[in-house]
Symmetry: C3
Subunit: 377 residues, 3 copies
């Protein structure tokens, strides 16, 4: 019989960051995806991930990923262990083309959401797609279908270090709570999601992937005092606000030149202009990223990239679902010194909303950002 | 010398739940053992357990079990890692018949309390026995004596998939803090517990186990505003209320038909009828469960069961130690599709107190409950 | 290729404590390093450590150490998993004499701070050196240089069970946030630390180690209501108070008789006599410890020791940075029954400040303390 350590493996990565605001509204900088950006900050462990995974049997694949640098709400001490993923993949057929993923896992929506932060070039995800789902994940059940030759192609993209998303199905359909990862459900209605993606391989080996996805559900936002001390009223039925999106993605993998773009449109809760009522709003946004992969014998692999993102919408999982307008431009370079060690430096030209603090002002600032990441595979 | 992975092993299980209230006081449903039961709930990860265990040497057995789906009080985000067990078994003799278990571990009281949730048929434990000890565990030191032939019998029951409790000694005696697992001690007096159990094997192989147990200590309950906003006074000395119980258990293991029953009687803190004073009260309750084990070549193992439980007492580890009256009936089926995957469906006819919310009303409701559990052994 | 379990190892230890106040101001006892000391306490799991470590490649050594018995601020439930260490050692040269340690790790200051609690004789560290750094650690980057023959000497000290500190460089220099382990940075200035230590080996094999160290930075203390309900004002620029120290250490390793002493002097925030203003203050203190190592064939290893400590200063990481005066004397015995199991008993004559509760009174008390520790190596 197999030993436990042949059924379960362990791997992970840690991201260590430092940021410096250079120009603009330096004292107003407040960037929700990274708390080390802004005034009076120095070093931060952004992510410390530990992954337990493995084929327990032919019928069950296990994946448990705590983050070791999380903070419970209300605590002034940090670096507690909190789940990101805890799922089982249950296989039905011998070829493992069909599976149901049960537990907490990523919601199959967007390309960048599904791509691991261990692999992503930009330090943080774009607001437009990422605002669909708190921490990209939720509790639910997801059906995935990936034909064998497509699965091999997904694997190939990982092996070749091409910044792919891994296998979240050629076709995916799922139901989930809808309030976000590590959040308590607040209505008895589930969200639904579906996604189709196809990685097409040209004769010269170049791979191009494109797809569509949609989300449908009802979301219950949280509310708290605005800048005048008034808690906005929530203008919706008890079961929450309509939360609907449809999106498209397209990726030309960096062989060596790559392009990646996504866009989505939708409806959701949104704080009104007077900041006293949360009502229904619309959203629209996406990003375009160009990148280049340069392998060298002596110096490892270099990935210069540039990313432009745009968003007009709201951030439903922040208190009061404030409006969020983003016009960001980012130049960056990822240097994979060794497979186990990489440095990213980016120059981020931010033009966005401070969604954390009422009255939710906008700021413009140029920020120099650094990340050292070590992988234990 | 032995490698670390031959000294320490890793295993665990995850429970994924969904409940639907069908009839009765559906809006009043509030079930303290499972927060996914009640209005405005969907999916829940009830338990995500990771166990590190192993014979470190001949003198020390290690057991560390965090739950990865716990929530610190006051936090609105969930799924943090919190200890259930962290103990060392220290052996004195070569045959390992005598041991002292030090750290946080289960209190040797009741049969169902000691049976792992990974193995239990009913989705939750009965109130009568389980109300002895928050999360069945505490910090302390416990002496266990199990003669070799009895230990083999306990092992056998596990190997044969007979829903047993594992080896918590033929005889047990222990001292512990008494405020519950993961709670701060509030007096300088320890609780004492003792238990005797004997698994008798008939000539035809049928095993019948029966035993007695008792607890003695002083408990300091917490108090907070009742429905009128008044915090009840605690009518006890500083060291807390007398907390005393005596119980009996009997189990006919399912070979293939099984019966399991427990009952206990005792004293403890209890909120009075006016809900303004916590005084001394009595408690009395238990359960009876019938079950059947059906193995099939193609479809795995089926365990139909029915469980009736009764309790008149109070829940000392809930705020204000509200009175708790339970008259529940539950029909269920556990289907072990594979050893690594099982589904439980139950029809629960609840008739009990909402002990979480003052004024602690009673409710009656029929609830359909589902659980998917995956084991990584 | 190497398997994951040959790259990553797992080990740890658990400390189980019980204390009894015997004489003196028993009701006023409040000892910040150990919450099981004082009235209305029984058993405590002081530390439950799990360490993941290993040479991932020739360029990267990984070390991740959560403590499984931590509590988020504001939570009434305990035993959550919180990081102590999460660092990568990055090596530059083949001989591994030079490395940079990035992430959260111990600040190279003092000897006792760097010595693992798994190895320390006294149950808790001395206030004088330990008050430099909350939990001895912080987020930052540290450069270490250890020539090969010195590294071998450090290893030797561990192998020979001589209560050493491990290898934190013959020379160390680092930058770090400065607010303490698992705390959010509150200014944009880093702390700096440097340390030099040299373990000299006499011809008879006796090793003597001595060194110097210094810290320089600005610290932002927290403030809250004093005994009169008034929150002290903080008399410092926004970037915080000067936080500067210089210290010396000397260790004669127990072969079999040992001596260990440290002292440091410095400046830092300090609550004034009126307890209404936090201003700049000075600090001065250290300790002397004598110990003896007795190995026996049948009974394991015994370490009797006596420790005297002195401190005049303040505890910057407690609320309001109260003044802290310590004159403690401690007699103890550590008995290593087996390598995996040890008991410590100490008789502590405390004469110190209750730094947790305003008005920060002093107390004198004699306390009998016990610890059982089990190691899983």
């Amino acid at each position: 019989e197999k030993k436990w350590y042949d059924r379960i493996g362990m791997r992970g990565y840690v991201q260590f960051r430092y940021n410096k605001s250079l120009w603009g509204d330096k004292d107003q900088v407040s960037f929700w995806p990274d708390s080390s950006v802004g005034p009076d900050k120095s070093f931060l462990i952004r992510r410390a991930r530990l992954i337990l995974f493995g084929n327990i049997t032919d019928h069950l694949y296990l994946y448990i990923q705590p983050d070791l640098a999380s903070t419970p709400t209300g605590s002034s001490t940090t670096h507690f262990a909190q789940l990101r993923d805890a799922y089982g993949d249950i296989f039905f057929d011998k070829k493992k083309e069909f599976r149901i993923r049960v537990g907490q896992s990523k919601i199959p929506y967007s390309f960048e959401n599904l791509q691991s932060s261990q692999l992503r070039l930009a330090l943080d995800r774009n607001d437009a797609m990422n605002s669909c789902c708190r921490d990209e994940r939720d509790i639910g059940a997801f059906f995935y279908w990936t034909p064998t030759h497509i699965r091999d192609r997904f694997k190939d993209l990982i092996t070749k270090n091409l910044k792919s998303s891994g296998d979240y199905g050629m076709f995916a359909f799922g139901v989930y709570n809808g309030q976000g990862a590590n959040r308590v459900e607040l209505n008895d209605q589930v969200h639904m999601v579906s996604r189709f993606t196809y990685p097409y391989q040209f004769e010269n080996g170049q791979i191009f992937e494109a797809g569509v996805q949609g989300i449908h559900g009802r979301f219950v936002p949280s509310a708290g005092p605005n800048a005048d001390g008034i808690t906005p009223t929530r203008n919706a039925p008890n079961k929450g606000f309509k939360d609907q999106r449809v999106g498209v993605h397209a990726v030309l993998y960096p062989q060596p030149f790559g392009l990646q773009a996504e866009w989505n449109w939708g409806k959701g809760p949104q704080l009104d202009g007077s900041q006293t009522v949360i009502g229904n709003g619309t959203l629209n946004g996406g990003y375009v990223q160009a990148m280049y992969k340069h392998d060298s014998e002596r110096w490892g692999t270099l990935f210069p990239f540039v990313k432009w993102q745009y968003f007009d919408g709201a951030l439903k999982f922040e208190r009061n679902t404030p409006q969020n307008r983003v016009r960001d431009l980012e130049f960056g370079l990822e240097w994979q010194i060794f497979p186990e060690l990489e440095i990213v430096a980016t120059y981020a030209m931010m033009n966005r909303t401070d969604v954390r603090n009422p009255p939710y002002d906008r700021f413009k600032a140029d920020i120099l950002r650094f990340q050292l990441q070590w992988n234990y595979f």
